[in-house]
């Protein structure tokens, strides 16, 4: 049996903004096909961690490896083409483009292909994310749920080996949340490696196989979700409960 391929590996990654250390000696790796959840209080450095993985910001020290290639100093647009797809916590669609054009642009440039080659794939992603009926509407006119769907759809369109989802379920109603979780589960079932930052714990734990807890930029726990949620340290720091 061949060992599982490691999609992402962070080794002793640190990042400071001035005197504030937002990522503190973080090390973990994600094998191919796994869904990893990241939890932690607000300001724990979760989104910064995503920025370090996508290349929006560069690590001060440590090494980021993606599919066995050192990408620590690689710019964001190159990492996208290598297969790092990302959705934002606050949806940032290209508002002047239609929903379909948003995907088409992400697919053509993210996969470095011609538009004609990716049109069918984009239509399929729109169908999978229930956005087909809004395909020709300007992205600026979408509701919050559809904006979140578009965030995910656009990240998927870049053809990611690794999909980073940043609080995709936040602000949604229970029904909307379930619809989104079903989409993510389907995506995961196809073998896409996922890292998902989320505060809506039941949504998160219904998909991920592993949980990582971040606090003050440090990894304070990583393991199976039930094991992590049962840990006293996590309950105290993350849930703020006296146990």
């Amino acid at each position: 049996m061949t060992p599982p391929v490691t999609v992402l590996d962070l080794a002793n990654v640190s990042k400071s903004f001035g005197a504030l250390k937002v990522t503190d000696d973080v090390s973990f790796s994600v094998p191919k096909g796994q869904a990893l959840g990241i939890i932690g209080p607000n300001g724990a450095g979760k989104s910064t961690l995503f920025n370090l993985i996508t290349g929006n910001i560069l690590a001060d020290t440590g090494r980021v490896t993606f599919l066995d290639q050192d990408v620590t100093r690689t710019p964001a647009m190159t990492r996208v083409r290598m297969g790092v797809g990302r959705s934002f916590q606050i949806p940032q669609p290209f508002e002047g483009l239609t929903v379909f054009e948003n995907l088409l642009t992400a697919a053509a440039f993210g996969q470095a292909k011609r538009e004609a080659e990716v049109e069918a794939e984009c239509a399929q992603i729109l169908a999978d994310t229930e956005l087909l009926r809004r395909a020709n509407d300007l992205a600026g006119s979408l509701s919050l749920l559809d904006r979140k769907r578009l965030e995910m759809a656009r990240a998927m369109a870049t053809g990611p080996e690794l999909l980073l989802l940043d609080e995709i379920a936040g602000g949604l109603t229970e029904g909307e949340c379930q619809a989104l979780v079903a989409t993510i589960q389907a995506l995961h079932a196809k073998g896409t490696t996922i890292i998902w930052i989320e505060h809506v714990l039941h949504a998160l734990t219904s998909v991920v196989e592993r949980l990582l807890v971040l606090d003050f930029g440090k990894v304070i726990g990583i393991g199976a979700p039930d094991q992590i949620m049962a840990s006293r340290e996590v309950r105290e720091i993350y849930l703020g409960l006296e146990v």
Binding site: R86, F94, G96, T105, G140, T158
Partner: protein, 287 residues
Amino acid sequence: MIWLDTIVQGLLLGGLYALFAAGLSLVFGIMRLVNLAHGDLIVLAAFIVLVVVEATGLNPFLSALIAAPALFAFGWALQWFVFNRVLGKDILPPLLVTFGLSIALQNGMLEVFSADSQRIPAGPLESASVDLGAVTVGIMPLLTFASAVAVIFALNQIFYRTALGRAFRATSDDPVTASLMGINPRSVFAMATGLAMVIVTIAALYLGMRSNFDPSIGPARLIFAFEAVIIGGLGSLWGTLVGGAIIGVAQTVGAQINPEWQILAGHLAFLAVLLVRPRGLFPRAVD
């Protein structure tokens, strides 16, 4: 009848102003760069077309076709090596750099081409006209206007029908997110300025064939271009054509009343539009 003629001539003159403005509008729309050297770049392109005409003996249109790729490359390099370094949250550095470029271009052209007035020879086309019954219009103004419509139509096709156009719009919306989709904003900006220089070449061709030019006339062309862009609404290409037409008509009507009022009337029309519609006639919904 004389007023109909005045208005038609003004509309056609507006085509020239729209050509001056289209490149400025393109660059501003995509990267929010106000290029103060735009007028001088038009004059530079006119000199380059003239040099090609004199060196090859070809007609001005073919000469412009030869000059256009070189000017595209010049625009691309100017963006890549100069403007990209100063674009950012602060709008002052790009303003200073383009202002400096404007001065450098004017003095450079003065050194190379002297202060003498020049004209691109267009032969019999210069005085050819067509009788439309009520009015008679010059072939050259007609060609200018048709070119302006064609340029704006082509730009719209590029913007809404091609991958490059979608990259232009995506980058204009949000360069950081665009880079997360695999788009290189620096290279998109360089393509945009290259394309703007092709439009500048077309504008320069008509400027040079219709009137005399010398190294000092750039800043005035910049003002006309700015006014057309702002009347039309920042970022709206068809609005730019309308803006050009409004300035053109105001100028010819002003000149008809009193020849000294030509330029003033254009500026007054600009101020009048600003008073009524501060964001221009067709502002983009998302800014």
